[in-house]
Symmetry: C2
Subunit: 253 residues, 2 copies
């Protein structure tokens, strides 16, 4: 099993505070030490970092903690291998291009007997159930739309597609194309919306706190989605099993 | 115009020495300061770093210089924008997946009136002539083979495809799928093969030298391909205009 972290904002925001706590679970405060990864949209472009070292020890993760990359959509993942060896090609998030846009996907869970027919142009490079699920989702999205669909249209398509994967096991996932962040829960997923008036927050996994009021403007909105709450004094809302939510401009749409 | 750096080896090797000199051209010893990028194959997996900051100032480039990532195939690029704005989505190298493998491409040059029909599933995300050329190459490779071709077969296919792009202008490029490194020259490209007995090398662009004999075994073979020679005391062979070479296990095949 793995852990997920997603961020969706109305203005480019750095994820260093949330990532600092999250990365501790990659081998220090929790046992998710079989690799990690993070992807940041920057306009249409994407920064994608993966590493098979534990996030708490990785020099690349150290860079992310120190270098504030500002993004409106971020997806991060720390891995505890269930299917697929410990190798770079099995580290989430995965990236594909479709309709001239990058799509980023990370999964927490375990799918049993999931070997879909992949007859289009999305094939897994690694050997995880997660990348198979992503490739199948991309294939079916490609068959359902002629070009980049609106957020609303794609949400409807995902609601139709997801159950046929979710019936194979635990399928908590995050997906983004830079416009929005889609989050599906089958077992564990929480979110919080940070907005004016911003408050003080204290990490669960590290001795670190922040006064968001000092780093934001009153217009800023930031939604954070995570497998288990990252802070002790913010309100985290638990997803219902089977729930698919989409976050746009820092709010649940 | 831009600059290219490629490395192909028979054993995973770090590129820190060559990259240290190359990165200096990203704003310090030369004017290629409109972004940079590097991709490292690691087995089937890929580490891909891009940044729109000059390579000589980028914290990510600093990480690459200090963190020895070992790889058998590396492609790096520093950008001087000709077509396409300075933005992350226009930074090379570009990555796509085909037949369950990652493909990496970087281009140095300038293509005039090159707007090929992209009717398959490879579309540019950014606005460069280079990414259009990559998408067209991927499309035509996909049409020419049912699965991953052998290095020899793909070399034949590329020899057929490349002239129809190269007639539009300067088309120096590097391409890799992790098995081999393909390099095409239309104006400027050089390579050197480092092998036993290994010698001392002194960078052209930085006050840095290395005794490769201390960092290698007699079996190691490393080919380096670059827009302009990186060292003052190694033998660099210039490509002929129109020449396509493929490097496998650290040697020109």
């Amino acid at each position: 099993m793995c852990q997920l972290l997603g961020m969706n904002c109305n203005t480019p925001t750095d994820v260093t505070f949330s990532f600092a706590g999250f990365a501790q679970r990659g081998g220090r405060t929790d046992h998710h030490s079989d690799g990690w990864g993070i992807a940041f949209f920057e306009g249409l472009g994407l920064r994608h970092f993966v590493d098979h070292q534990p996030a708490c020890e990785s020099p690349v993760a150290d860079l992310i903690r120190r270098y504030p990359i500002k993004s409106r959509n971020v997806i991060a993942h720390i891995r505890k291998a269930t299917q697929g060896e410990i190798a770079l090609q099995n580290c989430h998030p995965f990236v594909r291009e479709l309709w001239g846009r990058y799509w980023v996907f990370a999964h927490n869970g375990d799918l049993q007997d999931f070997h879909p027919r992949l007859h289009a142009n999305f094939r897994p490079v690694g050997s995880t159930d997660s990348e198979r699920a992503f490739c199948w989702l991309m294939q079916e999205m490609w068959k359902s739309h002629a070009g980049v669909p609106s957020v609303k249209e794609l949400t409807l398509t995902l609601r139709e597609l997801v159950p046929s994967i979710a019936k194979h096991g635990r399928f908590n996932f995050l997906l983004s194309n830079g416009d929005a962040l889609w989050a599906h829960c089958s077992t564990n997923l929480y979110y919080t919306e940070r907005k004016h008036p911003f408050a003080h927050a204290q990490l669960t996994d590290d001795d670190l706190s922040i006064d968001f009021a000092q780093h934001t403007t009153p217009q800023d909105k930031v939604a954070v989605v995570v497998t288990a709450p990252l802070t002790v004094n913010e309100q985290w809302t638990q997803f219902q099993p089977g729930e698919l939510k989409v976050f746009v401009d820092g709010s649940a749409a």
